[in-house]
Amino acid sequence: MLEVLGQGPVGSALLVVLFVLGFSVATGYLGALLGLGGGLLLVPMLVLLFHVAPAVAFGASLVAVIATSSGAAASYVGDGLADTRLGMFLEVATVVGGFVGAAVTVFLLAGQTQLLTLAFVPVVLFAAVLMYRSRGAGTWYRPPADGVARSLRLGGSYYDPQLRRVESYEVGRTGVGLIFSAFAGIVSGLLGVGGGLFYVPAMNTFMGVPMRVAGATSNFMIGVTATAGAVVYLLGGDLALFWTAPAVVGMLLGSRLGTLGHRSVSSGSLKRLFVVVLVFAALLMGLRGVGLLG
């Protein structure tokens, strides 16, 4: 792909821009449809196809994640599905993690190309496993509300269109939730992913937040957490400016389409496709990381 660019005519630059734009629309669309950020596929695309250094690709991905998250969060905040109190509470832990993770990559590990490429593999595989095992909405574990949740008045209610009724929920195990969120923030900053794949299970599995609310709240949180990391990449590191522009525009478009076209697509087969793509991306990143793939 890069050879095309080396020749310099505007036509080939246009081709590459259109390719990245199209790819980003597709990942943004899938991400919004399946509740995962597009960063998981954007990073492998930049690293594998265009030989962008991982630390630079992470920065581009984080910035694109802000675009999709803010675009999606705007509609969820508006219809009250995102639990903004819970989101704000967990953000206290995630922003610190996001900053620490980004600082470690930008200031300590930026030159460690192979290490960073390999570090991305378990995260992508974890996302594939989660996607493969994900349960439907409506059933969730409900721990009792703890003291912190009660004093901060966390928890609430939302309208569930599948059950056709208003469901209320309490929030429990806030300590575990905070620790898990801090960890998720660190991974987000370290590897340039949104972190939704950790926030959603943290809220749903540990804290007893229904899946729909957890997904919307996660989107609400991702933008702020990614920002804590992105400013470090933006102001302190090197940026892939040429790649970020089509990635931001494409992921924003794709995620809007994904939110709009949500009803008409069956998510079962899409999920399987996404699992296959994720495993494939993990395999290629692993091969590149150990030097078996040029």
Binding site: I66, S75, G80, T84, A216, L234, G236, F242, A245
Partner: protein, 130 residues
């Protein structure tokens, strides 16, 4: 992972931020994101129209010379400013939340949102300083 809603449905808000302010926060997010995408698109258009060879390697932004770059219609300055607008959007969102919780006299949440804002400002400062 089915976290995304099917369609906007009238659901009781689970926060006690006044709905008016929640709508404002939503508007800020939309305006920031769309504005940033438009600036990035303008940069791409300039790059292609002016026939500038893409710099595919890492670029270090000269933030102090950015205004001159915009005037000179340098696509990379447009890319950088678009990113800056995008990154500023969540700052404004958090700032509006601080205001909301102050007006609701919800002290624990004033403290939490202020803390988040401080960490964001601190991250930016660390990015510049280090």
């Amino acid at each position: 992972m089915n976290g995304t809603p099917e369609a906007p449905l009238a659901a009781p808000p689970s926060s006690d931020i006044p709905p008016g302010l929640n709508r404002w926060i939503g508007r800020v997010l939309v305006v920031g994101v769309v504005l940033s995408a438009l600036i990035e698109l303008a940069g791409l258009a300039l790059l292609l129209v002016r026939g500038i060879a893409p710099r595919t390697g890492p670029v270090r932004i000269d933030w102090w010379g950015i205004a001159g770059g915009l005037v000179a219609l340098d696509p990379y300055s447009f890319f950088a400013v678009g990113l800056l607008v995008l990154v500023l959007t969540p700052f404004i969102r958090v700032l509006l939340s601080v205001v909301a919780y102050v007006r609701a006299r919800d002290l624990p949440f004033v403290a939490m949102t202020l803390f988040v804002l401080l960490v964001l400002v601190g991250s930016a400062a660390a990015g510049v300083a280090l």
